[in-house]
Homo-oligomer: 704 residues x 2
């Protein structure tokens, strides 16, 4: 007994000694402070250039069984270290990435339970990352998380670019409001989706973009989300404190952990310049280097696809108009074709021809496999088998034909959320791909998850998504998962995760439309975690041109659609419109044909979330630069400096711009293309229409 | 409007016309009556020789959405047919099986919803089977079952042999009581289990064995449980009405169906002779013929195993005493062996030697693969990989050694209930088996199910169990699943389902003991659905002989252990005790060596549930007969007539019997073996000790 009291006193003494710890970013702009508050509550705060970013905020987790890991702690040790390394991504926005931070590791011991929890803080010039670390220890082996209690106490009622917190969908329009207005706007913000589960009148998703009244840009997200539930944030709108809210499983638990284990990193990117948020590599830096020895098979890809024609309603995924199909007892050769099936051999060849002609890498084909007649919303277990084509889709012939033209076909695996069924077929499906020349797959998770009661963003599904990626790697297959969890930089570790949707993509332009400012926000929110398969390039912005029943229109000018290939970074870029439309605008299409999908350098030239973004990027291994600019419904004039160009060179700039009278709704297809000679000293002024933008390709002049 | 009224009137008129339907069994002993009660409620009743078995009982289902399929019906057609066919099972108790019934099919139409539901009734000489049939129809494609509402209204307060209704375990001792006593005895009846979920103070499982006060034996169960949730029964103990209660999923739903589809058959076996219940093939007859073209690889098997030594605590499944193991980061070669690991190469070879010496087919080896250190009760996802042996288990060498001796090794796949993990590894694991000479697997589902919230007997798991069986068939692998759902005759269709546990097996003799009458009940309950891997043959009935800490004892005499090879029919029979023990009783072991595991004929000579069972069986393709007799704690004298023997032949009967002073607790190992010459005219009288029994092998005399 005496011994135990002594230990407690010792710990108490220690905690007095190291009660407050502080580290700074390499450039000393950021200061992270850690302390224990009364009752042994671990607490951190963050400042940027002396201004508060995060006020003292609690750390810890509640467990399903036993004492919470939120208080009763003493600091039993602390360590700091500096780290500076430059690494080369398999694909990316820049040729190399510098990973430079100062780290503080706090070891916390809970006297009452003898449990130990570490917190690692890494302070970069562009922000802070921290994570929980549960070492292997006798008193903590397996545990169930009731809730993570990580706070982000904000310094004011910031402007927020937010999506309703949801366990199953990210496909909401961004609402821009003060934090104090979230509660009042929530009902309007929650629009219908095939699978959705909101959890709080003040719950929001990450990446959450904030701007303080004094001009600080703050982004909250997470990095390296592995074998853990996805974090949303719940807002205490009296005190402006955001707190972690994890996605539960079917039984309401938030996570099943076994020591040794780590939480994902909680990330706070901060700057007084908006462009720094876009240029930040903090999330990637907090992920592990790639686990693959051979990455030669991972190739950035530009593609067209049999897709937009279905999205608009011009054609169908399904081969028949039958209903109530059972996959294992349906003989499609005996059913009457509906005549609207997009993925037929002849039609796919037209896409292959177009891709070959315009030097695109690949053709995505959706609706090629049996089961689409009633694939959706039926909680159907055996919904697809991923290997059986419809009678009018000739796998072998298309493989031969595409290969002869140097074009790849991209596989499509819609799971309808039935993930047991998908996992059962996964190996066979990937093998089928390898056997038939496919090296990339677009997967989909539309609708509620099976096993029923699990959510898209719970630990169970996060485990599944990563499983598909590592299994795909065995067959050298790249994965582009839609309706899966939002990325958290895992593509650094698993670079065959070549794309994700995880937000409201271009498809919604056919489902009622995206806000005109949508693409001025996404790079500040969704893209912080990784690239998005946004599928830009819609030239025919009136959907009724394809389907008279569909009154939606694309909330963008044609010129802005080109800009997105630069502003919406992705190693996987679709030219989403139909070849028949592109053939009417081949002058504009030239930009899509020319634009790179992998880069040696990137510069944010202008940026203000919700208003405009202008970015310049240098093509991988080439001297060419490309510029894209997107703006909101107001329109504006962009002024950029071409100082990023090689000082000694002359370039031909081809500018694809909105015409003077262009307007995203009233006159979206009014564009003008001009060529000008420029140098690194050129200052360029360019008008952007409401919902418009521009794109520029910059090629060194032949003469120089 | 007028048209609709007309339809309703027509249906109403029709329903008057065919309001009551009746069919009889081929032998006319059973009469099934179907009628619509007021409000269009489908109702059936059953009599046996004029005595009520099931009083008028309601039929139907409640759906999660929309009007219940329990009332508002009209009978729109009815059909009868007779069926008589004899088929040959791949393995079984008899060489051929006669499937002989009269069928009544009622088509019910629900005017308000235009939905159609059929009920098929098949009346056999030994009972009734009926099922719901939902044809493909516009108004009913996909539907979710809230509850099945099938009633079994009993004619009295019968004596019942019951287990507590549970979604996750069947490993309870049988309670024998009047139905009216169930409620009062429930608390005592529910003993602890690794995974258990009871649902009602009067909930019981099937197969439920009943005996009326006037001597009718009634058994309630189900047949052909495929893609549907397992049925328990909930008792209204005022009216003695049992009602179906399906196993829910994680969200509380009872089933997800798509038309066309069928419910399992609900079965009522009935006779005034107890032996008829044991001889009934009704459950098998209600299953479909085998789906396999080639069944040559399916072989009844007698085996020993590295198993009982772990069950008793003499040795361990695990190779080390480490805790908190992570499979993907543990290097077992660096851990200290615990010295108690059973499944080591040298020791397994001893079992192989014993099997070869005594002409047994196979050796089961549990604990051969990594992960056993903390496999259990942790809700652990990645718990086993099913292909990595412990360092002291040499797969190749044992394959070679076993093959050289003509012995098979039986694979063991414990899943710890983590079925996603199992399915992910299943194909690789089966391939590993095929590559290493294994042709049978014992699988296990100890503990709560992952995906969490699902139950052992829900539709999700039932689907899984069948998936493993059909996948195994692709590799010509036989499956013996423990802790899986109780069988419902599916082995007729999928005969590589060679065994199941699904009840309290011999292992419980080491966990406190089974009741002495246990094996006089199981053939009337658990075995009605199919064979059980009961693992008899324990000669050393004091567990302390193996593990001084373990005070349990086997509630059986040694002689009765031999009888179980006959009374507990299974094509898979273990000699569960240790070779070191068998070597001390080789005279008794001779019966185990001789007894068949596949049969041309079977006769129940004596039977009374809970008291005694005596069965004679003729070995497949041989003239030899074997007799087994088991009795309860009272002991008794059995008198049997050997009239089943070939009239023209003399036989040597080797009788393995309890000694006069034998007793299952006080003197279990006291047995006597005698040889006598017998013919078909011999009447044999044999004393059975309390908890005892006897076994006889009958071999035609060489001279005749």
């Amino acid at each position: 007994m005496a011994g135990r009291v002594l230990v407690v006193l010792c710990l108490s003494w220690l905690s007095q000694q190291v009660r407050a710890e502080e580290i700074k970013s390499p450039n000393r702009n950021l200061t992270l402070n850690f302390s224990l508050q009364a009752g042994g509550v671990p607490t951190y705060s963050l400042t940027y250039k002396g201004r508060p970013v995060i006020k003292p905020s609690h750390l810890g987790l509640e467990l399903k069984n036993g004492q919470a890991l939120t208080n009763g702690f003493a600091v039993t040790s602390s360590k700091t270290r500096a780290f500076d390394e430059t690494w080369t991504p398999v694909w990316g926005e820049t040729k190399t990435i510098r990973n430079h931070y100062n780290e503080l590791t706090i070891t916390l011991t809970q006297a009452a339970t003898k449990r130990v929890m570490l917190v690692h803080f890494r302070v970069f010039d562009d922000g802070l990352g921290f994570r929980y670390d549960f070492p292997k220890q006798p008193e903590l082996a397996y545990f169930v998380v009731k809730e993570e209690r990580t706070q982000f106490a904000l310094a004011g009622d910031h402007k927020a670019f937010w999506l309703p917190g949801d366990y199953d969908t990210q496909e909401y329009s961004t609402t821009t409001s003060k934090l104090s207005e979230v509660r009042g706007l929530m009902k309007t913000a929650v629009t219908p989706n095939a699978s959705q589960t909101t959890f709080s009148p003040t719950g929001v998703q990450t990446p959450l973009m904030l701007k303080s009244q004094d001009g600080l840009y703050i982004n909250l997200h997470e990095a390296a989300l592995i074998d853990y539930s996805t974090m949303s944030l719940d807002l205490d709108d009296k005190n402006m404190v955001l707190e972690s809210h994890l996605t539960p499983d079917a039984q309401g638990n938030k996570g099943y952990l076994q020591t040794p284990c780590l939480s994902p990193w909680r990330t706070i990117i901060v700057s007084d310049r908006a462009g720094d948020i876009l240029e930040s590599k903090l999330v990637l830096n907090l992920n592990e280097p790639t686990k693959y020895k051979d990455v030669s098979w991972i190739k950035p890809t530009k593609y067209v696809g049999v897709w937009w024609e279905m999205i608009t309603g011009k054609s169908t995924w399904s081969y028949t108009n039958a209903t109530n199909i059972k996959l294992d007892s349906t003989d499609y050769s005996k059913l009457k074709p509906n005549g609207t099936h997009g993925a037929n051999t002849a039609h796919v060849k037209e896409y292959i021809d177009f891709a070959a002609q315009h030097h695109l890498d690949a053709v995505l084909v959706e609706g090629w496999n049996t089961g689409w007649e009633d694939w959706f919303g039926q909680s159907k277990d055996y919904v697809f088998d991923f290997v059986t084509p419809y009678p009018d889709f000739d796998v072998q012939e298309l493989h031969r034909y595409a290969a002869s033209k140097g074009v790849k076909i991209i596989m499509h695996h819609e799971t309808s959320g039935s993930v047991r069924n998908y996992e059962r077929h996964l190996d066979t499906a990937y093998k089928f791909m390898a056997d038939n020349g496919y090296s990339a797959v677009k997967s989909g998770y539309v609708g509620n998850i099976l096993p029923r009661g699990e959510h898209h963003y719970g630990q169970w599904l996060n485990n599944h998504y990563l499983y598909t990626i590592t299994e795909a790697a065995k067959y050298k297959i790249m994965v582009n998962a839609h309706e899966a969890v939002r990325p958290t930089g895992l593509a650094r570790t698993y670079p065959n995760l070549i794309g994700n949707e995880a937000a409201r993509g271009t498809e919604y332009e056919s489902f009622g439309g995206n806000n005109a400012d949508h693409t001025t926000i996404l790079p500040f929110t969704r893209l912080i975690g990784g690239p998005m398969d946004y599928t830009p390039g819609i030239f025919q912005t009136k959907i009724s041109a394809y389907n008279p029943q569909n009154t939606s229109f694309v909330h963008s000018t044609l010129a802005r659609q080109l800009a997105l290939y630069v502003t919406m970074y992705s190693p996987l870029q679709m030219a989403a419109d139909l070849p028949e439309t592109y053939n009417k605008h081949l002058d504009a299409f030239q930009f899509i044909e020319d634009v790179a999908v992998d880069w040696d350098d990137s510069k944010v030239l202008e940026a203000e979330p919700g208003d405009y973004i202008t970015i310049a990027r240098k093509a991988k291994g080439k001297p060419n630069w490309f510029v894209g600019s997107t703006c909101d419904e107001q329109g504006r004039t962009s002024t950029i400096n071409l100082g990023f160009l090689d000082p000694g060179k002359k370039y031909v700039a081809t500018v694809y711009a909105d015409a003077k009278d262009a307007h995203y709704e009233k006159n979206p297809q009014a564009y003008a293309i001009r060529k000008v000679s420029v140098t690194s000293k050129t200052k360029l002024t360019q008008y952007c229409a409401p919902g418009g933008g521009y794109a520029i390709s910059l090629v060194p002049s032949a003469g120089k």
